[in-house]
């Protein structure tokens, strides 16, 4: 299952300090990792903390002292970490974290919904969304390389149950080749008894602005680093990924924009439309931050329809992916109105028929009449 793919990814990445706290649907990641540590398969220190807040604080402390770190969480746990997510990126620590997307309470829901991670958009973390368990494994390993090249933290994100608890065959690449791909972390600056630096001190307006500039400058480099790491992965291991990926996209008039497992269901429906000769395709989003602005501009220009399936809702505005896409493509000529469809909240299935209804409704939408549409809403 997806959760085990993460544990194996962390094992292969030779994480040194792991701190985590259980929450459904992330729990098996932690269980398996603690076993791997106990059995000596993974030579890491596992700190069994009393909260997610402390889990992130432990990772921050360990990463500041130069270690390769890992944690995993979901929903409430991620929200509890919020303050420290800012800390991790501001301190420029390459922490890798898994977030298994789960809806925010109340009402209590353990099922998939992306709002937990999307709500952390501005914390300075890179975020990558996965469609399959193979992606989960591969991107966990790649994340270390990406994060450590940029000194930025990164979140690998995937859907509760649809991946976390679903068994798929995953190719667990051997340790040797992964060691060649991912050398040990070399922290340039770290807590070192011989060197009395202060990290995270009081900073006057005189410097803070430039520190933020450097953070953003790293994010600007991040797109290129992600591309090159994913390319290297593809060359070495034959599995190719991008910040955005197209499916039957080249000649598509109607483009569905998806992320996570929604993509797979959408592919199924796209195939059916293609059989009928309708030019429907998919733009699959992988990175939320850095946002692949240039790519989406290029991919969305010249289409007849852009229909975003948002498995999340930002109350007061609508789907987050749609908002991001609108911001990225504003004033770009030839990009059609970006239609937003709220679907699948709190684990409601996004079924092929859901996608069909989106497409059929989308065909009727010439202009942007509504900021967002509900789909299959019960009365």
């Amino acid at each position: 299952m997806g959760n085990h793919a993460v544990s194996w990814g962390v094992l292969r990445s030779r994480a040194q300090v792991i701190a985590a706290y259980p929450i459904t649907p992330q729990t098996q990641i932690v269980e398996e990792l603690s076993e791997m540590c106990a059995d000596g398969d993974l030579d890491a220190t596992f700190i069994k903390v009393e909260s997610e807040h402390s889990a992130m604080a432990c990772c921050i402390g360990a990463a500041q002292a130069g270690a390769r770190t890992f944690t995993a969480t979901s929903a409430q746990g991620l929200a509890l970490m919020h303050e420290l997510l800012h800390w991790a990126s501001g301190a420029r620590l390459p922490i890798v974290m898994t977030d298994v997307n789960r809806a925010m309470a109340p009402g209590w829901s353990i099922w998939a919904d992306q709002l937990d991670s999307l709500a952390q958009r501005d914390t300075g973390w890179m975020q990558m969304y996965c469609e399959s368990n193979q992606e989960v494994f591969d991107l966990t390993v790649c994340s270390y390389k990406i994060a450590e090249q940029l000194d930025l933290p990164i979140m690998v994100v995937y859907d509760a149950f649809l991946l976390s608890h679903t068994s798929e065959v995953v190719d667990i690449t051997d340790q040797g080749p992964i060691d060649d791909f991912l050398p040990p972390r070399q922290a340039e600056l770290k807590l070192d008894p011989g060197k009395p630096y202060a990290f995270g001190s009081l900073v006057m307006p005189e410097y803070y602005y430039e520190m933020r500039y450097k953070l953003q400058e790293a994010m600007e480099r991040a797109g290129g680093v992600i591309d090159s790491v994913l390319e290297e992965w593809a060359e070495r291991f034959g599995r190719k990924y991008g910040q955005v990926e197209g499916y039957k996209l080249d000649d598509a008039d109607i483009v569905l924009v998806t992320s996570g497992t929604t993509t797979s269901t959408t592919k199924y429906m796209v195939n059916q439309y293609r059989e009928r000769g309708e030019k429907v395709g998919i733009l699959k989003m992988r990175t939320l931050r850095p946002f692949p602005v240039e790519r989406v501009r290029k991919e969305l220009a010249g289409r007849k329809r852009v229909l975003v399936i948002d498995k999340n809702m930002s109350p007061g505005l609508g789907g987050v992916w749609a908002q991001e896409l609108r911001a990225a493509t504003a004033h770009i000529p030839d990009v059609p109105p970006i239609q937003c469809y709220i679907a699948g909240l709190g684990g409601r299935d996004i079924r092929p028929e859901t996608v069909r209804d989106v497409i059929e409704h989308g065909k009727t939408q010439e202009s942007l009449e509504k900021e967002y549409h509900w789909i299959q809403l019960k009365n």
């Binding site: 500041q64 270690a67 001190s201 009081l202």
Partner: protein, 308 residues
């Protein structure tokens, strides 16, 4: 014979103590700041092979602004409630690098310890993390302008407990809370008793596991005393039993290290503006409470530890 060797031993202690200086000048503390003295004394003993973890508190400021560091050892500033958890992470990383002999010390205020950081501290203590956790206790949130904390003494004035409605309820007994975790060492320290102070730091440094050092810290602006009165106020805190000096081994073995003189608490309260509004009955009540707590401590000191 014994007396002589004790004497020369303590002379040596004092000599080392005077000579060694890790913390630099140029810090940003107020005059008469007890927290600064605590840090200075602590570092004299801990030495340069130390990593200091400091959460939000006055010491965030005292250490100096970017790019300066007054401490002479590496410092990790961290979020308010994370001193113990961030220190746990630092410990784990240093151990993996073979730096088991580096001291990892968390240095937090009373707010960061008694209140917002208590959960993380409890977690670290329960795991018996190999760290020294110091709480410098100035008995309020001083950095944000003297708001009450659960370490504020009963009936004291703060900006959130005005004279008309002073702090209700007694100061939280943090040592009892830590002792209940069964950690190897918990002790109260007072820089007005430097010999006792440094002995306790030495004891802590000689042990492994979670060690908790509770340091009283006079705060001239917060206590409303003249900055020249800091040491005196701290000494009075102990002599009046408001801040007794003792240590607890393994959560059970209590040892009182200084017999409080039993100076009337009135004299201690009288010298501080934060107690100016107290009535004679208030003072009497506080005296009786402290007398009772001292008795309680004596009883604990007499109890033999459980021995399977």
């Amino acid at each position: 014979m014994k007396a002589v060797s004790e004497f020369s031993k303590s002379k040596r202690l004092i000599k080392d103590f005077k000579e060694r200086e890790i913390m630099g000048p140029g810090h940003l503390a107020c005059q008469g700041c007890g927290a600064t003295l605590n840090m200075r004394y602590l570092l004299k003993e801990a030495g340069p092979n130390t990593v200091m973890v400091i959460p939000a508190c006055c010491w965030t400021i005292i250490d100096g602004q970017f790019p300066f560091n007054t401490l002479g050892v590496p410092v990790m500033h961290t979020a308010f409630e994370t001193a113990a958890s961030a220190a746990s992470g630092v410990r784990a990383a240093l151990d993996r690098q073979g730096k088991e002999d580096t001291n990892v010390i968390a240095f937090a205020g009373d707010g960061g310890t008694f209140d917002i950081g208590l959960q993380a501290l409890s977690g670290a203590a329960e795991r018996n993390e190999n760290i020294i956790y110091c709480c410098y206790d100035n008995e309020a949130y001083m950095n944000t302008g003297i708001q009450r904390s659960s370490a504020t003494p009963e009936l004291a004035w703060t900006t959130t407990t005005p004279e008309g409605h002073p702090k209700q309820g007694k100061k939280k007994d943090i040592i009892q809370i830590l002792a209940a975790h069964g950690i190897p060492y918990a002790a109260t320290l007072n820089a007005a008793f430097p010999e006792d102070f440094l002995k306790k730091v030495r004891t802590a440094l000689s042990m492994k596991g979670t060690r908790f050092l509770h340091m009283i810290s006079a705060c001239p602006p917060g206590w409303k005393i003249d900055s020249s009165m800091s040491i005196k106020a701290m000494r009075m805190a102990t002599e009046s039993k408001a801040f007794p000096l003792y240590e607890v081994y393994d959560g059970v073995k209590y040892h009182i290290t200084h017999e409080s003189k039993g100076t009337p608490v009135k004299d201690y309260l009288k010298m501080q503006g934060r107690f100016r509004h107290l009535t004679a009955e208030n003072v009497d009540f506080i005296q009786r409470r402290l007398d009772y707590q001292w008795e309680q401590l004596l009883h604990r000191g007499q109890l033999e530890p459980f021995n399977g």
